[in-house]
Symmetry: C2
Subunit: 147 residues, 2 copies
DNA sequence: CTAGATGCAAACAGTTTGCGTCACT
DNA sequence: AGTGACGCAAACTGTTTGCATCTAG
Protein backbone atom coordinates (compact mmCIF):
# COMPACT_ATOMS: atom_id res chain seq x y z
CA UNK A 1 0.00 0.00 0.00
CA UNK A 2 2.40 2.64 -1.15
CA UNK A 3 1.00 6.09 -0.64
CA UNK A 4 1.76 6.93 -4.27
CA UNK A 5 -0.50 4.22 -5.55
CA UNK A 6 -3.24 5.01 -3.10
CA UNK A 7 -3.27 8.64 -4.03
CA UNK A 8 -3.60 8.03 -7.74
CA UNK A 9 -6.40 5.58 -7.15
CA UNK A 10 -8.17 7.99 -4.87
CA UNK A 11 -7.96 10.73 -7.45
CA UNK A 12 -9.20 8.51 -10.23
CA UNK A 13 -12.16 7.45 -8.18
CA UNK A 14 -12.95 11.10 -7.62
CA UNK A 15 -12.34 12.12 -11.22
CA UNK A 16 -9.45 14.32 -10.24
CA UNK A 17 -6.17 14.70 -12.05
CA UNK A 18 -3.38 13.31 -9.92
CA UNK A 19 -1.03 16.25 -9.99
CA UNK A 20 2.15 16.59 -8.01
CA UNK A 21 0.89 19.58 -6.01
CA UNK A 22 -2.29 17.76 -5.17
CA UNK A 23 -0.40 14.78 -3.91
CA UNK A 24 1.92 16.84 -1.75
CA UNK A 25 -0.98 18.76 -0.24
CA UNK A 26 -2.88 15.59 0.51
CA UNK A 27 0.05 13.77 2.03
CA UNK A 28 0.97 16.80 4.07
CA UNK A 29 -2.48 16.88 5.62
CA UNK A 30 -2.19 13.18 6.41
CA UNK A 31 1.23 13.68 7.94
CA UNK A 32 -0.06 16.43 10.19
CA UNK A 33 -2.86 14.18 11.46
CA UNK A 34 -4.48 16.86 13.54
CA UNK A 35 -6.72 19.70 12.41
CA UNK A 36 -4.38 21.92 10.45
CA UNK A 37 -5.31 25.30 9.04
CA UNK A 38 -4.72 26.23 5.39
CA UNK A 39 -1.83 28.47 6.41
CA UNK A 40 -0.07 25.68 8.27
CA UNK A 41 -0.55 23.30 5.39
CA UNK A 42 0.74 25.92 2.99
CA UNK A 43 3.85 26.45 5.09
CA UNK A 44 4.61 22.75 5.17
CA UNK A 45 3.84 22.12 1.52
CA UNK A 46 6.05 25.01 0.49
CA UNK A 47 9.08 23.19 1.79
CA UNK A 48 8.55 20.48 -0.78
CA UNK A 49 7.09 22.62 -3.57
CA UNK A 50 8.42 26.14 -3.00
CA UNK A 51 6.63 27.57 -6.02
CA UNK A 52 3.15 26.53 -4.89
CA UNK A 53 0.62 29.25 -4.24
CA UNK A 54 -1.73 29.63 -1.32
CA UNK A 55 -4.65 29.75 -3.74
CA UNK A 56 -3.78 26.28 -4.96
CA UNK A 57 -3.81 25.01 -1.41
CA UNK A 58 -7.24 26.51 -0.80
CA UNK A 59 -8.63 25.24 -4.09
CA UNK A 60 -7.44 21.74 -3.39
CA UNK A 61 -8.62 21.65 0.18
CA UNK A 62 -12.08 22.56 -1.07
CA UNK A 63 -11.80 19.93 -3.78
CA UNK A 64 -10.78 17.28 -1.27
CA UNK A 65 -13.60 18.22 1.08
CA UNK A 66 -16.16 18.10 -1.72
CA UNK A 67 -14.96 14.74 -2.92
CA UNK A 68 -14.87 13.32 0.58
CA UNK A 69 -11.12 12.74 0.71
CA UNK A 70 -10.87 15.15 3.64
CA UNK A 71 -13.34 16.47 6.12
CA UNK A 72 -13.97 19.96 7.35
CA UNK A 73 -13.95 20.32 11.12
CA UNK A 74 -16.92 22.03 12.69
CA UNK A 75 -19.71 23.77 10.88
CA UNK A 76 -19.37 24.57 7.20
CA UNK A 77 -17.47 27.78 7.42
CA UNK A 78 -19.49 30.92 7.15
CA UNK A 79 -20.08 33.94 9.32
CA UNK A 80 -20.62 34.30 13.03
CA UNK A 81 -23.99 33.07 14.21
CA UNK A 82 -25.54 33.88 17.51
CA UNK A 83 -28.45 32.42 19.41
CA UNK A 84 -30.51 33.26 22.45
CA UNK A 85 -32.15 29.89 23.01
CA UNK A 86 -30.93 29.06 26.49
CA UNK A 87 -32.52 25.63 26.62
CA UNK A 88 -30.33 22.66 25.91
CA UNK A 89 -30.77 21.80 22.27
CA UNK A 90 -28.85 20.75 19.22
CA UNK A 91 -28.63 21.77 15.60
CA UNK A 92 -29.61 20.46 12.24
CA UNK A 93 -27.25 21.98 9.70
CA UNK A 94 -27.40 21.94 5.91
CA UNK A 95 -23.85 21.78 4.61
CA UNK A 96 -24.92 23.29 1.30
CA UNK A 97 -27.05 26.32 2.15
CA UNK A 98 -25.74 26.58 5.72
CA UNK A 99 -29.22 26.82 7.22
CA UNK A 100 -29.46 25.93 10.88
CA UNK A 101 -32.50 24.53 12.67
CA UNK A 102 -32.88 23.78 16.34
CA UNK A 103 -33.40 20.22 17.45
CA UNK A 104 -35.05 19.70 20.77
CA UNK A 105 -32.87 17.99 23.32
CA UNK A 106 -35.42 15.20 23.57
CA UNK A 107 -34.77 14.28 19.96
CA UNK A 108 -31.31 13.01 20.67
CA UNK A 109 -30.11 10.63 23.30
CA UNK A 110 -28.39 12.52 26.06
CA UNK A 111 -24.68 12.73 25.52
CA UNK A 112 -22.57 11.49 28.37
CA UNK A 113 -18.83 11.46 28.59
CA UNK A 114 -17.38 8.10 29.41
CA UNK A 115 -13.84 9.04 28.65
CA UNK A 116 -11.26 10.70 30.82
CA UNK A 117 -10.60 14.17 29.53
CA UNK A 118 -7.20 15.84 29.74
CA UNK A 119 -6.63 16.99 33.33
CA UNK A 120 -7.72 20.55 33.94
CA UNK A 121 -10.11 20.71 31.01
CA UNK A 122 -13.28 22.48 32.11
CA UNK A 123 -16.28 21.37 30.11
CA UNK A 124 -18.69 24.15 29.40
CA UNK A 125 -21.14 22.48 27.10
CA UNK A 126 -21.51 19.75 24.55
CA UNK A 127 -22.66 20.66 21.10
CA UNK A 128 -24.28 18.13 18.80
CA UNK A 129 -24.70 19.02 15.14
CA UNK A 130 -26.52 16.83 12.67
CA UNK A 131 -24.90 17.64 9.33
CA UNK A 132 -26.42 16.87 5.97
CA UNK A 133 -28.38 18.40 3.15
CA UNK A 134 -31.87 19.82 3.45
CA UNK A 135 -34.59 18.75 1.04
CA UNK A 136 -34.08 21.68 -1.28
CA UNK A 137 -30.34 21.23 -1.52
CA UNK A 138 -30.64 17.45 -1.78
CA UNK A 139 -32.76 17.77 -4.88
CA UNK A 140 -30.48 20.30 -6.51
CA UNK A 141 -27.30 19.21 -8.25
CA UNK A 142 -25.20 17.36 -5.71
CA UNK A 143 -21.85 19.00 -5.10
CA UNK A 144 -20.03 16.62 -2.89
CA UNK A 145 -19.89 12.89 -2.93
CA UNK A 146 -18.67 10.18 -0.65
CA UNK A 147 -17.75 6.60 -1.18
CA UNK B 1 -41.20 40.87 33.79
CA UNK B 2 -40.94 43.79 31.43
CA UNK B 3 -38.09 43.33 28.99
CA UNK B 4 -36.77 46.75 29.94
CA UNK B 5 -36.30 45.73 33.53
CA UNK B 6 -34.83 42.37 32.61
CA UNK B 7 -32.32 43.92 30.31
CA UNK B 8 -31.06 46.43 32.83
CA UNK B 9 -30.74 43.73 35.45
CA UNK B 10 -28.87 41.50 33.06
CA UNK B 11 -26.45 44.27 32.21
CA UNK B 12 -25.86 45.15 35.82
CA UNK B 13 -25.10 41.55 36.67
CA UNK B 14 -22.57 41.53 33.84
CA UNK B 15 -21.11 44.91 34.73
CA UNK B 16 -22.22 46.40 31.46
CA UNK B 17 -23.68 49.82 30.90
CA UNK B 18 -27.30 49.52 29.84
CA UNK B 19 -27.22 51.65 26.74
CA UNK B 20 -30.01 52.09 24.27
CA UNK B 21 -28.08 50.51 21.40
CA UNK B 22 -27.19 47.53 23.53
CA UNK B 23 -30.78 46.99 24.47
CA UNK B 24 -32.02 47.20 20.90
CA UNK B 25 -29.36 44.77 19.70
CA UNK B 26 -30.15 42.32 22.44
CA UNK B 27 -33.88 42.45 21.98
CA UNK B 28 -33.49 42.14 18.23
CA UNK B 29 -31.54 38.92 18.62
CA UNK B 30 -34.23 37.60 20.95
CA UNK B 31 -36.95 38.57 18.50
CA UNK B 32 -35.21 36.74 15.67
CA UNK B 33 -35.01 33.57 17.77
CA UNK B 34 -33.02 31.67 15.18
CA UNK B 35 -29.32 31.88 14.43
CA UNK B 36 -28.94 35.31 12.91
CA UNK B 37 -25.75 36.66 11.40
CA UNK B 38 -24.29 40.02 12.39
CA UNK B 39 -25.41 41.49 9.06
CA UNK B 40 -29.01 40.44 9.59
CA UNK B 41 -29.02 41.79 13.11
CA UNK B 42 -27.51 45.03 11.87
CA UNK B 43 -30.20 45.39 9.20
CA UNK B 44 -32.99 44.89 11.74
CA UNK B 45 -31.47 47.08 14.42
CA UNK B 46 -30.97 49.87 11.93
CA UNK B 47 -34.71 50.23 11.52
CA UNK B 48 -34.98 51.23 15.15
CA UNK B 49 -31.65 53.03 15.49
CA UNK B 50 -30.71 54.23 12.00
CA UNK B 51 -27.47 55.83 13.14
CA UNK B 52 -26.02 52.66 14.62
CA UNK B 53 -22.82 51.32 13.13
CA UNK B 54 -21.97 47.76 12.17
CA UNK B 55 -18.92 47.92 14.43
CA UNK B 56 -21.15 48.56 17.41
CA UNK B 57 -23.20 45.50 16.55
CA UNK B 58 -20.07 43.36 16.36
CA UNK B 59 -18.63 44.77 19.56
CA UNK B 60 -21.80 44.10 21.44
CA UNK B 61 -22.33 40.61 20.08
CA UNK B 62 -18.85 39.74 21.31
CA UNK B 63 -19.60 41.36 24.63
CA UNK B 64 -22.84 39.41 24.98
CA UNK B 65 -21.12 36.15 24.08
CA UNK B 66 -18.33 36.76 26.57
CA UNK B 67 -20.73 37.59 29.34
CA UNK B 68 -22.94 34.61 28.57
CA UNK B 69 -26.02 36.60 27.55
CA UNK B 70 -25.84 35.06 24.08
CA UNK B 71 -24.21 32.01 22.67
CA UNK B 72 -22.12 31.52 19.58
CA UNK B 73 -23.32 28.73 17.31
CA UNK B 74 -20.75 26.15 16.27
CA UNK B 75 -17.07 26.26 16.95
CA UNK B 76 -15.48 29.46 18.18
CA UNK B 77 -15.01 31.25 14.92
CA UNK B 78 -11.59 30.95 13.37
CA UNK B 79 -10.20 29.63 10.14
CA UNK B 80 -10.98 26.55 8.12
CA UNK B 81 -9.73 23.34 9.68
CA UNK B 82 -9.36 20.08 7.88
CA UNK B 83 -8.86 16.53 9.08
CA UNK B 84 -8.00 13.19 7.58
CA UNK B 85 -9.04 10.96 10.46
CA UNK B 86 -11.70 8.81 8.78
CA UNK B 87 -12.68 6.95 11.91
CA UNK B 88 -15.78 8.08 13.72
CA UNK B 89 -14.65 10.38 16.47
CA UNK B 90 -15.51 13.61 18.18
CA UNK B 91 -13.73 16.76 19.26
CA UNK B 92 -12.60 18.41 22.42
CA UNK B 93 -12.41 22.12 21.73
CA UNK B 94 -10.93 24.92 23.84
CA UNK B 95 -13.06 28.01 23.34
CA UNK B 96 -10.16 30.24 24.36
CA UNK B 97 -7.14 29.05 22.41
CA UNK B 98 -9.22 27.18 19.82
CA UNK B 99 -7.17 24.02 20.10
CA UNK B 100 -8.89 20.85 18.91
CA UNK B 101 -8.24 17.33 20.15
CA UNK B 102 -9.77 14.12 18.91
CA UNK B 103 -11.96 12.11 21.22
CA UNK B 104 -12.32 8.48 20.45
CA UNK B 105 -15.83 7.40 19.59
CA UNK B 106 -15.79 4.99 22.51
CA UNK B 107 -15.50 7.93 24.89
CA UNK B 108 -18.98 9.16 24.18
CA UNK B 109 -22.25 7.28 24.11
CA UNK B 110 -23.32 6.73 20.54
CA UNK B 111 -25.65 9.42 19.33
CA UNK B 112 -28.94 8.25 17.93
CA UNK B 113 -31.67 10.33 16.48
CA UNK B 114 -35.03 9.78 18.05
CA UNK B 115 -36.66 12.73 16.48
CA UNK B 116 -38.30 13.05 13.11
CA UNK B 117 -36.21 15.26 10.91
CA UNK B 118 -37.70 17.55 8.27
CA UNK B 119 -38.73 15.44 5.27
CA UNK B 120 -36.02 15.17 2.65
CA UNK B 121 -33.15 15.98 4.97
CA UNK B 122 -30.26 13.66 4.21
CA UNK B 123 -28.07 13.08 7.22
CA UNK B 124 -24.41 12.84 6.38
CA UNK B 125 -22.85 12.70 9.79
CA UNK B 126 -23.28 13.78 13.37
CA UNK B 127 -20.64 15.91 14.95
CA UNK B 128 -20.18 16.07 18.69
CA UNK B 129 -18.00 18.81 20.13
CA UNK B 130 -17.13 19.07 23.79
CA UNK B 131 -16.54 22.77 24.37
CA UNK B 132 -14.70 24.22 27.31
CA UNK B 133 -11.37 25.56 28.39
CA UNK B 134 -8.16 23.58 28.43
CA UNK B 135 -5.99 23.50 31.53
CA UNK B 136 -3.70 26.28 30.36
CA UNK B 137 -6.55 28.61 29.44
CA UNK B 138 -8.52 27.71 32.56
CA UNK B 139 -5.68 28.91 34.75
CA UNK B 140 -5.19 32.12 32.85
CA UNK B 141 -7.43 35.13 33.38
CA UNK B 142 -10.97 34.02 32.63
CA UNK B 143 -12.57 35.98 29.81
CA UNK B 144 -16.11 34.83 29.77
CA UNK B 145 -18.44 34.09 32.60
CA UNK B 146 -21.77 32.44 32.97
CA UNK B 147 -24.36 32.49 35.69
C1' DC C 1 -5.36 17.73 -28.16
C1' DT C 2 -8.27 19.35 -24.54
C1' DA C 3 -10.21 19.78 -20.02
C1' DG C 4 -8.77 20.89 -16.15
C1' DA C 5 -4.92 22.46 -12.78
C1' DT C 6 -1.56 25.97 -11.44
C1' DG C 7 0.28 30.62 -10.02
C1' DC C 8 -0.26 35.25 -9.62
C1' DA C 9 -2.56 39.33 -8.36
C1' DA C 10 -6.47 41.49 -7.40
C1' DA C 11 -10.97 41.36 -5.28
C1' DC C 12 -13.89 40.25 -1.55
C1' DA C 13 -16.37 39.21 2.84
C1' DG C 14 -16.37 39.29 7.41
C1' DT C 15 -14.50 41.22 11.36
C1' DT C 16 -11.57 44.16 14.29
C1' DT C 17 -9.24 48.39 15.73
C1' DG C 18 -7.95 53.34 16.65
C1' DC C 19 -9.59 57.43 17.86
C1' DG C 20 -12.35 61.47 18.82
C1' DT C 21 -16.85 62.33 20.82
C1' DC C 22 -20.69 61.20 23.69
C1' DA C 23 -23.53 58.96 27.48
C1' DC C 24 -24.34 56.06 31.47
C1' DT C 25 -23.46 55.58 36.29
C1' DA D 1 -16.34 63.56 36.61
C1' DG D 2 -14.63 59.50 34.83
C1' DT D 3 -15.02 55.11 32.62
C1' DG D 4 -16.62 52.98 29.17
C1' DA D 5 -19.74 52.97 24.79
C1' DC D 6 -20.60 54.89 20.24
C1' DG D 7 -19.72 55.94 15.27
C1' DC D 8 -16.71 56.35 11.66
C1' DA D 9 -13.13 54.99 8.71
C1' DA D 10 -9.34 52.44 8.00
C1' DA D 11 -6.91 48.17 8.67
C1' DC D 12 -6.71 43.28 8.63
C1' DT D 13 -7.44 38.22 8.06
C1' DG D 14 -8.98 34.60 5.74
C1' DT D 15 -10.66 33.18 1.44
C1' DT D 16 -12.12 33.35 -3.43
C1' DT D 17 -11.81 34.63 -8.31
C1' DG D 18 -10.16 35.92 -13.10
C1' DC D 19 -7.02 35.01 -16.25
C1' DA D 20 -2.96 33.52 -18.73
C1' DT D 21 -0.04 29.51 -18.78
C1' DC D 22 0.94 24.86 -18.24
C1' DT D 23 0.11 19.68 -17.71
C1' DA D 24 -2.15 15.14 -17.05
C1' DG D 25 -4.87 12.02 -19.43
Amino acid sequence: MSPELNFRDLCHRCNLAATHQRQVIYETVLSLHGHPSPELIYAKVRKKVPSISLATVYKNLRTFIESGMLREVGLPHGSLRVESNQKIHHHLVCVECKSITDLDEAGIDPVRLRQKLPPGFQVRRISVDVLGTCSQCSSRAPRSSRF
